[in-house]
Symmetry: D2
Subunit: 348 residues, 4 copies
Amino acid sequence: MKKYRVGILGATGMVGQRFIQLLENHPQFEITAVAASDRSQRKTYGEACTWRLNGEMPNAVRSLPVQPPQPPLDCDLVFSSLPGDIARETEGSFANAGVPVISNSSAFRMDEDVPLLIPEVNHQHLDLLTRQRRSNTSGGFIVTNPNCSTIMLVLALAPLHAAFGITSTVATTMQALSGAGYPGVASLDIIDNVLPHIGGEEEKIETETTKILGRFVNDAIEPAPMAVSAQCHRVNVADGHMAAVRVNFTRKPELGELRGALSSFRSLPQELGLHSAPANPIVVRDELDRPQPKLDRDAGNGMTITVGRLREDTVLDYRFVVLSHNTVRGAAGAAILNAELLIALNYL
Amino acid sequence: MKKYRVGILGATGMVGQRFIQLLENHPQFEITAVAASDRSQRKTYGEACTWRLNGEMPNAVRSLPVQPPQPPLDCDLVFSSLPGDIARETEGSFANAGVPVISNSSAFRMDEDVPLLIPEVNHQHLDLLTRQRRSNTSGGFIVTNPNCSTIMLVLALAPLHAAFGITSTVATTMQALSGAGYPGVASLDIIDNVLPHIGGEEEKIETETTKILGRFVNDAIEPAPMAVSAQCHRVNVADGHMAAVRVNFTRKPELGELRGALSSFRSLPQELGLHSAPANPIVVRDELDRPQPKLDRDAGNGMTITVGRLREDTVLDYRFVVLSHNTVRGAAGAAILNAELLIALNYL
Amino acid sequence: MKKYRVGILGATGMVGQRFIQLLENHPQFEITAVAASDRSQRKTYGEACTWRLNGEMPNAVRSLPVQPPQPPLDCDLVFSSLPGDIARETEGSFANAGVPVISNSSAFRMDEDVPLLIPEVNHQHLDLLTRQRRSNTSGGFIVTNPNCSTIMLVLALAPLHAAFGITSTVATTMQALSGAGYPGVASLDIIDNVLPHIGGEEEKIETETTKILGRFVNDAIEPAPMAVSAQCHRVNVADGHMAAVRVNFTRKPELGELRGALSSFRSLPQELGLHSAPANPIVVRDELDRPQPKLDRDAGNGMTITVGRLREDTVLDYRFVVLSHNTVRGAAGAAILNAELLIALNYL
Amino acid sequence: MKKYRVGILGATGMVGQRFIQLLENHPQFEITAVAASDRSQRKTYGEACTWRLNGEMPNAVRSLPVQPPQPPLDCDLVFSSLPGDIARETEGSFANAGVPVISNSSAFRMDEDVPLLIPEVNHQHLDLLTRQRRSNTSGGFIVTNPNCSTIMLVLALAPLHAAFGITSTVATTMQALSGAGYPGVASLDIIDNVLPHIGGEEEKIETETTKILGRFVNDAIEPAPMAVSAQCHRVNVADGHMAAVRVNFTRKPELGELRGALSSFRSLPQELGLHSAPANPIVVRDELDRPQPKLDRDAGNGMTITVGRLREDTVLDYRFVVLSHNTVRGAAGAAILNAELLIALNYL
C-alpha cells in the first residue's frame, strides 16, 4: 500500500511525541519531516527532543533534521500540534501552499468553513472542504479535531442526542497534566492540590460541542440547539481526562435505553475498519467505582472512551462519568483517525 | 470561666485527632475522657494513638486511658466521630444516659427530631431539642453536624437562598483523602488517579441539604423545596474538599448582588462572638485560579469557606467553586462550633 | 509442547495478580488452580478478586474457584506469594505433599538447603535441591527468589563481583508502593511524604545478598565475604524500586571496565533462551537523569534492570543508581524465570 | 529596638517569598526594598508576585515597588536569593557599594575569604570578614549560607565530629520540589517518579561540608580531613529534604553516646537567644518510621532538624536519617539566623 509522507508540526511537544509514537508502524503513514518552533532547529530530532513517553523514541525519526514550521516540507500532508499563538499563521501558510493540514490546534476550529471532526460523529461536516476549496485552490485544506475534553464529551453525547435529543448538558471536568503540555503545570502547583482553572477550556467545550453536534445545512454548520455548561479543573493525574456529566433530553429515555445507546454505538470508522478506530468507541462499565484514569485510559489503545456511574439525576434527567485518554483519543489519535477517514473518503 | 468536661468518642481516628487538636487550649472545654471502639482500650491515649496531624499530640491527653465507647464516661458531654455502623447504638445510649451528644456521625442526621446544625444557617432548628426532650427526659440529647461536603455547599447556598430563592443546585465534588479516615484510601488506588465514587456521599448531600435549608414549622422541619444533584469524586489531596456548583434561582440576581450576598454574609455565631466562629464564614476570591485546597483550606483557621470562579452559567443561572477544610469546618470544627452555640443559647 | 499445570498461592494479592498477568499466554504454563487465604474462598476468581493491574483480568482464570491454600490442588507445581506469616507452614505442606514450590515469600529464603535463586547469578545453587531431596523424598521441593530490592541490587553486583571482587556495598533504596501489597501504604501516609522505614527490608537485603553471591561448597552455601549496608525508604511511586549504590572492590577497575562488565552481562537464561529472560539483564544509561521509575521500569518487559549515574565515588570506589520493576523482575517475573530454569535444567 | 532596613534580592522567587514570610513581625528587621531580576520591575510587589506560600502575602510588602537588583537600594543590608548565574556579579556590586550581603546563593560560597556560615557550627569563620575588609574597604561584605542539603547534613555531623572525629560520611538525599524554585520541576516529571539527578548538588554537598567543618588557621579555612560522598534525588514532596547518612569515626562511640551528642547539642545561637534560633537545633526521634517530611519539617518553626533511625551500620560505623525544612533552615531561615548572629557579634 502506498504510504503517505507526513510532516509533524510541533514535533518535540507532548502531542508531537504522541503523533510519532502512534505513527510508528502505521500502515498508511510514514514520517518524512519534523518541525518545531523552538530552539530545536538545526539539530536532529534525536538530539533536539527529550523523549517523555513510555518506551524508546522510534528509530525512524532520530536522524530527521528538525526544521522550521513553514512550507515547504518534504511531505504529502502535515499533522499539527502547534501552540495556539502561532498555529493560525503557520497552518494557514501550509494550507495555502497546497498541503492538507490535519490539526490538533485550536486556531481554526471555529472557522465557518473548517470541519471540526470526530469521525464517529460528524463526518458529514467534511462537505465543508468543498467550500474551503472554493477559496483555496492550491489543493491544501484544514481539518481540525476538537479540544481534548470536548472529544470525550461529544463522543458520549452523540448517540444520545441522535436517539433522544439533548436540550442541555452540564459537564465538570477533572483533567490530566499532559493536557497542559511540557513543562506545563509546575509540580509545586499540583502536589496535594486541585487547580480550578484551565485557560480557555470552558469556552472551548461550550462552543465546540454545539458545532460538532450541529447539522450541515446550506453549505454551513447550524449549531445544535442545546445549552452546554463546562467547569474545568486540573487534577494530579498524568494522563486521562474525566468529566462528570448531566444531560436533559427532549424525550427522557429509560435507563436501559440510555445504556444501550451508548454501549451499542458504532459508526462509520468501525464500518470502514479504519486502522485507529476502536472496535467500540464507547465502553460502559457498571462497577461502582469506574471509570478511573489509571485503569481505563488505555482502553481500545487509548481510542475508546469509558462511561460509568450512569444514573438518573435529581436536577437534570441523567448523569454519568466519562473518561478518555487526552493525548490519544483527545489529541494525536484523534487527528490520525481524521486523516484515516480522509483517505477512506478520498479527500486525500 | 467554667470549663465543660468533654469526652471524645472515636478519639483515635482522623476526626477524633482533630477534635483533640482543636480543643487544646479551648476556653470552654477540657477533655476528660477518650473512647475508641478498636483495640486501643486499656492503653493510654499516648500509647494507643499514632498521631497523624501536624505538630505533636497535646500533652493533656497523652495519659488519659482509652475507654470503651459506652456510658458512663467522666464528662459533661461527648463529641462523637464514631464510624457509622456503631454510632447509632452508641450515641443513643449516651443520650439516653443523660449525656448531650454532639455528633459528627451520619447515624442520626436525618432523624425527624434531631437538629442537623450549621450555626450560621439554621440555629432555629435547635427547637427540635424540645421535641427530643419529650421522648428523652434524661437530660441527654443529640445534635449533629452535616456531612463534610454538605456543610460547605450549604454554607455557600444559605445566603443565596435567603436572598434570591434557590430552586435547584448541581454540585460536583473533588474530595480530599482525609475524608475517608485512616487508613482510608489505599495509596495504590489514588496515585495518578481519580476515584468517581464515595460510598453514600451523593445521597447524603442530596438529602441533608434540603433538611438544613428547610423551615421549622409545626414542630418539624419542612425540607426546602429545591432539587439537589451531587456527583462525588476522590482526588489526590490530603485535606480540603472542593465542589463545582451551579445554581438556579427563583429570581436571578445580578452578579454583583450574588457576590455581595456571599462576601457580606455574617450570622449568629459572628454576632455572639463564638470562639471558633470565623470573622467571615465565606471569603470570595476573584483570582482566576482560586480556590485551591493547598492555599485556601486553612482560611479562618479552617472554619472559613472560600468561593471563587463566580460566573454566569450557560445552563443554570450561576456557577462557582467552593472549598473548605473537610476535617475542620467539615467535621471536628463544625461539631465544636455547634457546642459553642449550644452553650451560648443555654442548651448546655 | 506440554504445558505444566500450575497453582497460584496468594492469587488475589498484588503479586498474585502479576503471576496471573505474566502467565497469560505463557508457552510452558497454564493456571489450573488459584488459592488464597482470605475470605475469597468459595467464590470464583472473577468474583473474589478486584483486578488492580492495567488491562482486564485474563478470561482463563475468571471461572476458577478460589480454593484454600493447602494440598492437594489440581496442579503440577505452585507459585506462591503468600504473606510471610502463613507461608512457612503452607509452602512446607505443599513441598511435603510432593509439589514443587516456586516461592516469592520470605519464609524459606535463608534456609540452609533452599536455593535463593536469580537465574543469571547463582544457578549453581540449585544443587541444594539434591540436599532437599534427601530429607524430602516426596518429589516436592522449595525454590525461592529474593526480596524485590535484593534482586536488583544483586543483579547489578554479580558481574562486578565476578570481575573485580566486591568487598563492601552500601545501598539506599527508594521503593515503590506496590511492594507493600494491597491495600498496603495508606494514601495519607505517602502524599507529600517519604517513609524511612520498611519492616524487615534492610535486614533482608543485608543477609540475602551474601547468600546469593556465595559459593556452593561442600553441599552448602558459603556466604560471600562482603559487607552489605541497606537503608530503605518508601516513596510515592506506584511501581519501580530504585537504589543508590556505592561499591568497594578488591581491585578497583577503570570506569570503562565497570561499565562494560555491566552492559555486556549475559548469563545462562540468555544462553538457554528462557521465555521470560530479557535479552539484556542490565541496561546502562548515560543520560544525567536516568534511571527513572516511570521511564525505565518496563525495560525488557519489566525483566531488565537499568543502571545509571555510574561514577567514581569519594568514599567508596564507585557509585551508581539501579532500578527495576519490583513486582515483575522483583517478584512474580523472578519466580517464573526460576521455574523456566528448573524446566530447562530438568528439575521439573 | 532599632530595626535594620533590609532589601530582598530575588524577592519574587520561592526563597524570596520565604524571606518575606519569615521577616514579617521580625523584631530586628523591616523590609524596605524588594528587587527581582525578572520582568516584575516597575510593578508593586503585590502586582508582580504570585504568592505561593500558605497564608496571605504580608501587607507591608504589597505596595513596595519591585526594583532592579543593583545598588543603591534603600536599605542597610540585603538578603539575596538570586539565581546562581547573576548572583556573583550582583552580590559583588552590593558588597563593593558598602552593603552587607547575606546570601543564600551559591556564587561566593567557596571563595577563600567568604564565610560559609551555620551559626551553630562555625561562627569562628566570621573572622574571614577581617580578611574581606582588607580588600573591600567600603564597609560591605558577603556572608553565605550553605546549600539546603549541606546545612542539615553538617548540622547533624557537627556535634559528632566534635566529639568523635568523622573520617568519612556517605549521604543519599531525597529532596523536595521547593528546592528547585518555581516553576522548577515539571509535574509530568515527578508524578509517579523519582529523579536521580539535581544539577551541581552532589558536588556542593561534597565540597561545602569540609569547608564548614574546617578550622580557621592562619587567616584561612583548612578543610576538615574527611571524605564526603553524596548521591542526590528529587522526590515528590513539596517541602522537606531528607538524607540517609552513614558515618565513620576516628573513635567509634557507643550508640548512647552518639544519640546523646546529637540530642544535647546546643551552641552559640541558643546561648545568645537569637530570635530565629530553635531551642534544640537537633531533635532525635526513636520511632521506627521517623523522620518524615510531612510530620517533621516544621519542627522548631522549620529551624530544627530531625534525626531518626540511628543504628549501627554494617559497612561504616553508624547510620541515621536526617530531615529539615529546605526553604527555612535550608535557605531563608538560615540567612536570617546568620544576620541575627552578625548583629549579636557586632558585625552589623
